[in-house]
Subunit: 186 residues, 2 copies
DNA sequence: ACTTAGAAACATACCAGATGGTATCTTTCA
DNA sequence: TGAAAGATACCATCTGGTATGTTTCTAAGT
């Protein structure tokens, strides 16, 4: 009869596990190591089980990054809700959110870079970014604020490679003051 | 007898073609599409021929990125030689060099991101970067200059995804003036 | 409350194709 | 003539995907 599965079925948790483990494997061993087999095994499920939740490997990958983008979006909007000042609000949220992204040893950051390595996924990211700045054009369109966001991306990149940023604290203070309009604008 | 090869042998050019085509394939179709077969075929050579130049696929990949880093290094140093002003020299070279990287439609940029997606390769990049800032600590260590370099990375990232940078011209002017010390320092 | 059909959630078995790599042969160069 | 350059043939392994089985949940019907 074979050692069929006797585990209780919890599809939601399995699905979450599949996404999380795919993410973890991608971070640890690169996107090439993300095979259907490996992800399924890491999640305590067989290939058939995975293919039930995601019709193809590509669907899995897409879901992972969609999930990632969603999480980041929620984090961003949560920070924006906590900020009463309108001008530069998105930029401040973006700055702190991106900094936190690289802070935890960088699993999320490392994953994001994998997203940028794939052309279609990169397009999704580009669309998302453009929509973001477009949506907040009224409050976050100054040169100063754009500069802050670009620098935040740069720091994120440095954190990704564990490259130390010289005078990090001073730099962050500067960015925060620029995003708060404390600095004279351009 | 088979249709054996009657082409003249030019190992150096073949080697170059292998590197270039591997790069091109990676840019166009992602790193996953870089197979020994594909690269060899694109270079008018069989697998055996490729494996002669590079003992393994990983060796090929490594060589591609080493080559990329070398080119960038040379470009950087060339720009630095053309700059008579010592303070901020590296940062100015870095800024213009990085901008040019994304300017040509971004093949080089797209390739670089693939480098960052692989952990060991990412380490090489990190080492290279750290060595660079360390070497020019005497002339490029201010908060302003670091900020310029980080923003340059951010622009590079935006260019990679073809995300438009708002008020790009103004922003670039600002960065250049910051890197030239025309701006009051922090 | 008990049954029961059917869908959902998995497992098992299998496959056609691609992949990296090896072994070996042939041609060209120095 | 020996070494480099490249071709050809071959293989063990792994890949994503399909087909189909088995178990568990769910909800209607009574």
């Amino acid at each position: 009869m074979g050692t069929a599965h006797h585990r209780r079925k919890r599809p939601a948790e399995i699905r979450r596990a599949l996404l999380d483990n795919a993410m973890q494997i991608a971070v640890d061993q690169g996107l090439g190591a993300v095979t259907v087999q490996a992800v399924a095994a890491a999640s305590g499920v067989t290939k058939g089980g995975l293919l039930h939740h995601f019709p193809s490997k590509q669907a899995l990958i897409d879901a992972v990054f969609l999930d990632l983008l969603d999480r980041f979006s929620e984090d961003l909007e949560e920070r924006m809700r906590d900020d009463p000042v309108a001008p530069g609000r998105m930029t401040r949220a973006y700055l702190s959110s991106v900094l936190d992204l690289g802070a935890d040893g960088g699993p999320t950051a490392a994953l994001s870079i994998l997203m940028l390595a794939d052309a279609p996924l990169r397009q999704r990211w580009a669309d998302w970014t453009e929509a973001l700045v477009s949506r907040h054009r009224a409050t976050d369109d100054s040169v100063d604020l754009t500069l802050v966001r670009l620098a935040a991306d740069g720091i994120w990149l440095s954190d990704l490679g564990a490259v130390p940023v010289p005078q990090r604290e001073k730099l962050l203070a500067r960015l925060q003051s620029m995003a708060s309009g404390t600095h004279e604008g351009g």
